[in-house]
Each structure stands twice: as C-alpha cells, then as structure tokens.
Symmetry: C2
Subunit: 446 residues, 2 copies
C-alpha cells in the first residue's frame, strides 16, 4: 500500500464540489464575453451537425434498438430521426451519434470532446421541458466549463492511466448543466455533482469500437439522471469530487485544484473549443490542410501528380500509418489516404472516409504515390508537404498550424460548410441552411 | 506496486474478457456442488429480504420518484411496491433498496456485496421475460463468480485507491448474468462484458449517503444495458478488461490474472458468500458480536457500564470512525454506536440504526463512553472488547470470528429470521413465511 494514492491523499483540498455547484447555479445568463458566447453557439451548432451526420450509422441503429427494448416514453428527440425516447435515453443516443465519426469538438489542452456529454444531456432535458435556446446555451457553457476545468485538474495523469477523459469528466459537466436547467439550488446542484462523481465512463482500450462514442452518450445520461435524482432529494457526499476517496483522487494521481478554482467565471475554457475540419485523427490534419492548400492555390489535378512527400512528426505514422486501407474505417488511420483526398477533393469529410472513396481507383492510384517521412524535428501540429508534378514542376507548403487549431480556427463559413455537409443529406439542403442560420444567430441574454 | 500503471503495463495478460464470456455462456445449469447451490438460494433469498426491508425507505422513494420523471414502461417489478418500471430502472431501484441498510451479503475476501448488482439485474430481466427460477439462480451464480473473481484480481489496491468495489466490479457480473439470461453467444457476451467495462460505479467517499446504495443499483443497470446493447450488435474491445488501457489496468495497480483463471468453474467464490447479521459495515461486526455476547453472558445493563474499550483493526476506525452520529445513516458509520446498541439491545438490526435509536439519550450516553483503539496487530475479522462496570468489575471477550463470517456462518434459521424481520412488515407475517419457503426450496437443474 506504500505507493498508492492514500499515502499522499490531499485532505486539505478546497471545496471543489461546492465551488462548482455555486458557479453552475449563480453565474448569470450569458455572463461571459461576446467571443465566448459565439464559441458556445458554434459548439452547439457543430454538435447538432455531427449528431445529424451519424443519425443513420449502424452504431446509432444498434444503440437505439437496444433502448427500444425498454419501451421508452417519447419524451425527447433523437436527432435526425423520427423516434422519440425518454430524456435519459435521448441523452445517450445523441451523445453516441455526435461522437460516432470522431468529428466533433475538442478542448485541446485535455483532448476532451466537451459537447458530446454536455450538449447531449442539456438538449434532451430542454427538449422535454420546452426550455429556451438561451437556457440551453447558458447551461451548456457552464457544464463545459465544469468538465474542462476538472479535466485540466487531472490531465495528463488521468488520461495516461487509460481513462477516456471525455466520458470520465463529461458526467460532471452534464450534471451541472442539467441542474442549471432544472433550476436546482446550490445544495441540490452539489448533490447532482456528487451523484455524478460516482459514474465516470470509459477506458481508452475501447477506441476503434462502438463503445468509444458510447462514452459521451453514457456520460450525458449519467449526468442527466444525477440531476433528476438530486431534484428529488437524493444525496451524495458534499465533497464527492475532492475528498481523499472522492472521484478525483481515486482516478488520478494528479490533482491541481487551482485549475478548477482560479479565474472561475472570468477566464473561459469553454471559449477554447475547437472543431475538426477533417473526419479523422487530429495528427493528420496539418498534412491534409497542406494538400488542400496546394490544390486550391496551384490549380493542378490529380492525374498530373507524379509524387507526394509528407514530412511529419513520428506520431503520425504511429497512429495513421496504414499504407493500403481497404474500408472507410481503415482510411481514417491512413495519412496516405488522407493526403490523397486532400489533393483530389480539397476536403476530408465523412464522405472522403467512406468505403466508396477508399476503394475509388483514382484515389488508390494517388494514394500509392504518397510517401511519408517520420521526422522527430517536426512539431505535432505542423507538416511539410511537397507535390511533384509529372511536368517536372514542384510545389511545396509548410503548415505551421492546421486549420481547426486554436491558432487557425475554422471560420464560421467553414463550420457552416461542415454543418451543411452533414445535415444536408438528412434534412435536405434548404432545411439544413435554415437550421444553421437558426443555430448560429446570436441569442440575447435571458 | 508502481506509481503509474503505464510504466509497467502488462501487454501479455491472458484473454480474460473472452475467458469469462465462455464461462458465462457454456457452464452448465447448476454446474456446481449442492453446497454452492444452497448458498445461491440463500444469496437470492437474502437479497429479496433486504430489498423488501428497504422498499419504503426515503432513499428508495427518492430514486423511484426520479425514475418516474422518465415515465417508464411497466416492465418489471419494484420489490415490495406496487409500481412497475422498465427493466433497467427496476435493476437500479432494486439494487438501491437491497443495499440501503447495508444489510446484504458480503464476499469477505474483497468486501464485495455481490447480490446487489448481480441479482438486481438478473431479476429485473427475468421478471420481464418470464424466465424460470432456475435460470435466475444459474445466471446469478455465474455473474457473482465474475464479479468476485475480478475483485480478487484487483483487491486490495483497487479498493485502497478509493473505489467502492461492489459497484466497480458489479456491472461485469450483472452483464455476464444478463447475457446468460438473454441466451447471447460467446462473442456477444464478450461484447457485453466489454461495454460494461467502461462503466465502473462508485467511490468510497459516498459512504454514509444515498449514493452508496446507488452504486450496486447503477452497476446492475449498467450491466443489464450492456447485455441489451450486445444483443443488438453493439461492439466493444475484445480485450476491454485486460488490455494495458482496459479497465483492470486503468483502475488498479494490482492485476493478478490467476485469480480470474485458476479453477474457474471448479472452485466457487459464489459459494463463499456470507450474510450480515448486523445492519452496518462488516468491519464492526466482531465488535458488535463481542458486545452482544457480553450482554447475554454477563447480565449487566447499560447504566452499570463505566467504560467500553474496543481493540480493533485500523480499518474499523477508518471506515466507521464517526464519534457522534446524528442520524441513523451516520450511525452505520460509527463503531461507537454499533458497540453501544450491541450492549444495550443484544442486536444491531435496521431498527438499531434508525434516527430514533441514534438520538436516544441512553444510547448516546453509553456511546460516549466507548473508546476504540486502532491496533495494526489485530485481524480485520476479530475484535477485543472490554467492558468496565461502575462497580469496578471488568468483563472481557475476544471475538476471533463474528457470527456471519465464513467460520461462523449464519444458520438457515438465523437467515430465515432475518428475512422475516424485513419481509414481515411489508408482506405480512404469513406471506413472508411462505415467500421464504419458496425461495429456499431447492430448485432442480434445467
């Protein structure tokens, strides 16, 4: 027992559970700057788009058909489908669909995908109780702040240990958001957070299976149920997060409490959210961005290309080194495929990682001419791309930060295009455009 | 024991997830000795009694009223009540009620309360699908074996870290049991275990709150849902339990795989179940037993007592060190209160941990005269009790093993009396007697 957490248990942690409860209850509606509020709009809109894009995926079909065995009451909407299910199950399913394509948002400091758990719980509850868009945006922003600050407190030890931090912090953000929406007082919200603290979801071994997107869904459901329980007088420890045998010290050897308390309500992690422009692992994004830039700026077509050379951080080949992917899912783990579609289509969305495109002869022909050099001197966020044409002309670009990073965020227009790409096939193009406008239009404080 | 699991990650663990799936699917009905099968009958009967005893407790009222907000379908029985709710919610509520009084069963090697998660999930599913008592007993026995063997694999590090091992292994046993009941094949059952592996429930900081009994309930629900998901094709890692970033290496620095594989299907942890004669944490049972023995054998009354001294294993004060409990629930975490009621009433059932008794002046007066000495040389299962009377006479007893231990198990008749004490007020005395007979009557193999 000598080296375990109890020996160094911190008995003097600040009252984190209480502090977060007070924050979630008392912080005023839209009590943050315009930039953070715009980011909240983008976060919610991007979450809706991702959930729509996967609404008919087999992962969602499977989960929904299991939920249907419970004969749920039609309380809340399953996004992009006609079914309605009870609030808790809606939180589960929408959380699953929003993360199915690994195409959602990322809080880069912790690799948390914050909307999956928090927006899914918020929306399910708000849909049933007919709450306003402003209430949703307020609750979601506060909930994301809770998840990401707890994430900052425990990252990286917690993640290194094996937890999928999105699901293992998400139930806290979801509980805070739902408590806010239900109008719980501080004591009740403290209980909601406490109940949620017993329900972390997800280990990293599940990556590559349906259980990965299950994590944000299950965290959303757990948080929502925790708030409902607290609203009915259910109790938990008042120090469920910070006590020596509370959640944080149990599942992480690092607990930097200042990451939670410092600047709470002033400095916003929720304002640091980013969105994936490409539907694959983030390490390939600089390469794809470089390829898409060359295509756009240099005006060549695929058949003119003799050879492509990527110089990348070693992690890229470690995570995405598949030379000859055969199906869409394998394409997501091939930087060669990713570069080829960047050059041929100028984008790398869900369609570009479908079986059809991965098996397309033109794509395969170009993919086979892509080489990648693992270079430890390259930074993870950068890539160096050289395209040699058959004509003998050579084009080169160095991407310091890919689009979608904090330094080069996706523009509203790029995010809109991503949304339309996902929502269009489900809603129809015109309805998708209208939906986007509705989601991105600024929403006044309550 | 290392500071960080990743440093010494075990990449060569046996295929535990697969092995347990094969076991849960292929082991024959009643494929164990008569003694183990009788223990299974006792386990299930004791679980029913505990759930009945708490059916009207505020913890259950609160949880059930939260579940009712979801407008659940009346699929399965809430034990001891007229309401019916969907299968998953029934697993939750019955798991909560069965553990509300901390009066259920214990696998002493790990301090797991196995029936709470496993029987609750099993019964909820079986009630809806109208499965036989034999199917329930088979599934429960196999599920308990899964929970307890995983518990053996990770105990004590996992528990020391802060996990409430009942809820953090229970979802695996519940998933295995439900997979068995649903007739899933080995591949599907492996997925059910995998999905469950992302949903451990509970930290020890919650002890003394409603969230403690929530743990077995939530684990039951998670396991049941995992089996339903697997039945509909939902996927998880095939090595979700044993991989370096699977559950076991993520939430425990100890992973002794042989505890899972050795003698599986031959030697039965499920046969080692024990039942609490006293309605509080097991670590106080030797002290209570000693106090009750002295009262019975020495014939003094409370007002004669000058001072009581307990010499106990350090864990007793760590878990039950509350000096001045104010309500019944807190009394359960006070070895001082437990000793006082043992001396005053000769028992420590549900009534002795009620608000009324915890606030009783005579009890308080005696409780304040109880001292406890933490002695690392004492074994956890033993206690040394000295009662000094005002007359100057001193009485002493050393309890090697308390009643309810493996060495001094509760007899069938004692277990029956415990059942009637709990079931009688809910069902009526005659119906309670009939129920007991039905539950304890041997059930032939299918």
């Amino acid at each position: 027992m000598t080296l375990n957490t109890q020996v160094q248990a911190d008995h003097h942690a600040p009252p984190i559970t209480r502090i977060l409860a007070e924050f979630a209850v008392n912080h005023p509606s839209r009590g943050w700057g315009a930039a953070v509020d715009h980011e909240a709009h983008r976060t919610f809109a991007n979450w809706v788009g991702c959930a729509l894009g996967a609404a008919r995926h087999e992962t969602v079909e499977s989960a929904l058909s299991a939920v249907m065995l419970l004969d749920p009451s039609p309380q809340s909407c399953v996004i992009g489908r006609s079914e309605r299910v009870d609030m808790a199950s809606a939180a589960l399913i929408n959380g699953i669909s929003s993360h199915t394509f690994d195409f959602d948002d990322t809080h880069l400091k912790t690799i948390i995908h914050p909307a999956g758990p928090v927006a899914s719980a918020t929306y399910a509850l708000a849909d049933f109780y007919k709450l306003s868009r402003r209430q949703v945006l307020d609750a979601m922003t506060l909930g994301i702040e809770v998840s990401c600050r707890v994430g900052n407190c425990i990252y990286p030890d917690h993640y290194d240990r094996g937890w999928h931090i999105t699901g293992s912090t998400g139930m806290l953000g979801a509980a805070a958001a739902c408590a806010r929406l239900l109008g719980l007082n501080v004591d009740q919200t403290q209980m909601a957070l406490g109940i949620a603290a017993s329900q972390p979801v997800g280990v990293r071994e599940q990556f590559g299976t349906m259980t990965k997107p299950f994590h944000p869904g299950a965290a959303a459901k757990a948080g929502l149920m925790s708030a409902l329980l607290a609203s009915r007088g259910f109790t938990a420890s008042q120090r469920a997060l910070e006590a020596p045998r509370g959640l944080i010290q149990t599942y992480s050897d690092k607990s930097d409490w200042r990451e939670i308390t410092e600047g709470l309500g002033e400095r916003w992690e929720a304002g640091l959210n980013t969105y994936k422009p490409f539907a694959c692992g983030i390490v390939a994004h600089p390469s794809i961005d470089g390829c898409a830039q060359l295509r756009r700026d240099r005006g060549f077509v695929g058949s003119e290309i003799e050879r492509v050379t990527l110089r990348v951080h070693p992690l890229v080949l470690e995570l995405m080194g598949k030379k000859t992917p055969r199906i869409g899912l394998e394409g997501k783990f091939s930087v060669f495929h990713a570069a080829a579609v960047g050059l041929l289509f100028g984008k790398a969305g869900i369609r570009e990682f479908s079986d059809e495109i991965v098996q397309n002869p033109e794509v395969i022909a170009l993919r086979d001419r892509v080489a990648a050099i693992s270079d430890p001197s390259m930074r993870e966020e950068s890539a160096d791309v050289t395209v040699e044409l058959k004509s003998g002309v050579s084009h080169h670009v160095f991407v310091r930060h890919a689009v979608g990073s904090l330094e080069v965020p996706m523009s509203d227009d790029q995010l809109r295009q991503k949304f339309i790409d996902q929502a269009g096939p489900v809603l129809g193009l015109e309805a998708a455009e209208r939906e986007w406008e509705g989601l991105i239009t600024p929403c006044a404080a309550a």
